[in-house]
């Protein structure tokens, strides 16, 4: 797991305080997943944490040509995937940052810079980040998503976090996180019901 943390899975393409987008090679696509906790280490050694909300593979002119062909030799497909002109884009929702060893579930003062390296957090770091502070405050950032089904990101992230916590013997974290979500969304019946439907289906 420690080896995974030291291997970057992408490089920053663009960013603002609320979110950032990293590009990665297809080979590196094996490890990140929707809802996974990732981080960017900035030049001042501070770290910006986020959750993967979208992974996009965009087309380019060559792919369009190949796709319109009758048959594509396997080596052409492999080559196009391995040696894409356009990187696979990983969109990340910012959910917190760390500075001088202190964690914060707030938006960072500054966004990361282009070509900053993106790392996937291992289970230890996922547990540490998600149990920090009170009431899983970082979950509120997920609820800000507007162009992505929130419940899908939540299911993915919560299931990963739940597994990581239960591996350490903590069986109450998931319950507390669900309770926090209910408190945050109880004034929005429709949205909360949709999320709870999805969470119920997950189990």
């Amino acid at each position: 797991m420690k080896e995974m943390r030291t291997i970057p899975i992408g490089k920053l393409l663009r960013a603002d305080n609320r979110q950032f987008v990293a590009g990665c090679r297809v080979k590196e696509l094996e490890t990140p997943a929707l809802g996974a906790l990732v981080k960017v280490i900035l030049q001042d050694k501070s770290e910006v944490y986020g959750l993967i909300t979208r992974i996009s593979i965009n087309d380019d002119g060559l792919v369009r040509q190949l796709a319109s062909g009758v048959s594509i030799p396997p080596e052409y497909t492999a080559d196009n995937r391995q040696n894409r002109n356009l990187p696979v884009e990983i969109e990340v929702l910012t959910v917190g940052f760390a500075r001088e060893g202190h964690l914060f579930h707030q938006l960072p003062p500054r966004p990361p810079l282009s070509l900053d390296l993106l790392y996937l957090c291992d289970d230890d770091e996922l547990v540490r980040f998600s149990k920090h502070g009170k009431n899983q405050a970082y979950l509120r950032h997920i609820l800000r998503l507007t162009d992505m089904p929130v419940e899908e990101v939540l299911i993915s992230h919560l299931s990963q976090a739940r597994r990581a916590h239960e591996a350490t013997g903590n069986h109450s974290w998931y319950r507390e996180a669900c309770e926090r979500l209910i408190i945050l969304l109880r004034d929005d019946y429709t949205r909360l019901s949709t999320i709870l439907d999805a969470l119920s289906a997950m189990e």
């Binding site: 319950r175 669900c178 309770e179 209910i182 408190i183 109880r186 004034d187 019946y189 909360l192 019901s193 709870l196 439907d197 969470l199 119920s200 189990e203």
Partner: protein
């Protein structure tokens, strides 16, 4: 320095909720944080806000939801059980309506400089309970009253602070200040079968034991003086005479009357000369008297004075009341009703009819020409000497007997007390302050209904408050039939369950927050719970009443006597060197 903060210890009860809204008139709204079943209507709650402690009564519980959609469907059917449970906990709730009744300024934390400054500002005057004039802040924590809070409000049990029951939630003792209780006329109410009679027995036992006043109990159904039997359980029910043999005098109506085979302390007879025309008018309904009765009675009294009744009843009617005169005509004899009526210019038929109806009274054994001894005076003497009298009616259980005897005796007693009070206030030599007296009247609606109230001495006593040291304790199952003006004069009202809406309204008439109390009164558990409100009760409260059983008597005689006896023994032992 004397601790001037409330006597209550540190709160021992956990919070049950917090203030979320409402107001002084509309009642406070409290969001419950414990299951609804842990709190009942009528629960006594306490709220500390700033320097103030508020004491309130739960008057209602309402279910609510953040969004009605959460309440209108079963979440368990849609989501997995754990999520559904979490959702219910966060979106469904119960609110309490709390009537804030009293408040007390507690001041800053004792021992601090702020507390000292606060005391100095108050000139070291102890803060007093007052009716709520303000409200606690938002989110003030609410808890059930603990034993210290109950004692702050209702007092600690002693000889004159009588334990009448306990709180329903936690069984803390609730007391009635008997010294205050007897300062105003009071009422004990309850429907038939509600436990009213046992409640009355218990309170009367407390009054006799406490000696805060003498009591004269008109025992219409022979329930209070002698031992009787519980009609439902068949168990023996102790009477006051058996338990307080030296303090209580048992009087029976009519010579040679016995009560369940036992002789009373003395029997009561009433002389004809004690009966006034007003006493007869009181019996208009019972005797079916006509409108002409008043004029006839006035004429009789005018002609014969206090002997009017005997003289009138000795007049003849019917065949023996006439004779044939020299002209061969039938003429009324001089000792006939007709003769007198003609002379007094009274309608003969009216007089004859009245004579006929009064015969029901004339034939009563307890009405005599002259009493051998002045039993009434003896009765008054006992009461003046701080004793208690139970007048059992024996076989004379009709409304007619009850109305006549209670009104007549009470009139005489009140007259005696009025004279004693006047002597006392005039500072006549050797005149002592009159002994407070409570006259206990059952079936009060027969004496105090709107038609009769103005004629009876009882309504006068009720209106006089305690001008002549005489108050009433009325025991009744139909308070709605008691004259409004009399009900409004009642200080303390202790009510068991009542089914009739009018009766409930009558008990609560003139009470603050009666709308809130109505629901509580309507839901009292028969034979178990009572609502206390009024003069001697600082705030209304629903309690589980004490049982009138052997434990009651053990506790009653044990509270003041056993403890004192133990102290004396301890002291004696120390003096004799048996303790180190």
């Amino acid at each position: 320095m004397t601790d001037l903060t409330p006597n209550s210890q540190e709160p021992v009860n956990p919070d049950i909720g917090f203030v979320s809204g409402g107001g002084l008139e509309a009642n406070l709204q409290v969001r419950l944080t414990v299951p609804a079943q842990e709190v009942q209507s009528g629960a006594f709650v306490v709220m500390d806000s700033g320097y103030w402690r508020f004491y309130g009564l739960v008057t209602d519980l309402q279910l609510g939801a953040v969004d009605l959609q959460y309440a209108n469907q079963l979440n368990i059917n849609r989501f997995n059980p754990e999520l559904a449970n979490l959702l219910n906990q966060q979106t469904l709730f119960t609110n309490l309506s709390v009537m804030s009744a009293l408040m007390l300024e507690r001041g800053p934390e004792p021992g601090t400089d702020e507390h000292t400054a606060w005391l100095e500002k108050r000139n070291y005057q102890m803060p007093k309970l007052m009716p709520s004039k303000t409200i606690p802040n938002h989110h003030t924590k609410v808890r059930l009253a603990d034993i210290g809070d109950i004692q702050d409000i209702f007092g600690k049990e002693s000889k004159t602070v009588f334990r009448i029951g306990e709180t329903r939630e936690q069984g803390h003792p609730v007391c009635l200040d008997l010294e205050k209780f007897v300062q105003r006329s009071s009422g004990i109410f309850g429907a038939t079968g509600s436990g009213k009679s046992f409640l009355a027995r218990m309170i009367l036992a407390g009054l006799v034991h406490a000696d805060t006043a003498s009591t004269l109990i008109f025992d219409m159904h022979n329930e209070y003086g002698i031992d009787s039997t519980d009609p439902q359980k068949g168990t023996s029910v102790p009477g006051l005479k058996g338990k307080f043999s030296s303090k209580v005098k048992l009087v029976a109506l009519g010579r040679n009357t016995t009560l369940k085979g036992k002789n009373p302390d003395f029997t009561l007879e009433i002389a004809y000369s004690d009966i006034t025309p007003e006493d007869i008018l009181l019996l208009s309904q019972a005797l079916n008297l006509t409108d002409t009765t008043s004029a006839t009675l006035d004429a009789l009294y005018s002609d014969f004075g206090k002997n009017w009744f005997r003289t009138f009843m000795e007049m003849k009617t019917g065949a023996g009341s006439t004779f044939t005169n020299d002209d061969g005509k039938q003429e009324a004899r001089e000792d006939s009703v007709a003769f007198w009526a003609k002379a007094a210019n009274i309608n003969e038929i009216a007089a004859t009819t009245l004579h006929s109806k009064l015969r029901r009274l004339y034939n009563r054994d307890y009405l005599v020409n002259e009493t051998g001894t002045d039993v009434l005076k003896s009765l008054i003497d006992h009461l003046e000497n701080k004793q208690h009298v139970v007048l059992s009616f024996g076989k004379y259980e009709s409304d007619l007997d009850y109305l006549l005897v209670t009104n007549l005796i009470t009139r005489k007693i009140r007259d005696a007390w009025e004279k004693a009070t006047d002597r006392f206030h005039s500072k006549v030599q050797n005149a002592s302050e009159p002994q407070p007296l409570v006259i206990v009247v059952e079936e009060a609606h027969k004496l105090l209904n709107p038609e009769m109230a103005s004629q009876t001495i009882f309504s006068i006593i009720a209106r006089e408050l305690r001008k002549y040291y005489v108050t009433l304790l009325i025991i009744d199952q139909r308070p709605s039939q008691i004259y409004d003006e009399v009900m409004s004069q009642l200080g303390t009202r202790i009510s068991a369950s009542l089914g009739d809406e009018d009766d409930i309204n009558a008990v609560l008439s003139g009470q603050a927050s009666r709308a809130a109390l109505r629901g509580m009164l309507a839901k009292l558990q028969p034979s178990e719970e009572v609502l206390m409100t009024g003069w001697s009760v600082k705030m209304p409260i629903v309690i589980r009443s004490r049982r009138y059983d052997q434990t009651f008597w053990s506790d009653l005689f044990g509270v003041s006597e056993t403890k004192e006896e133990k102290l004396t023994l301890d002291q004696l032992n120390r003096e004799m060197g048996f303790f180190e």
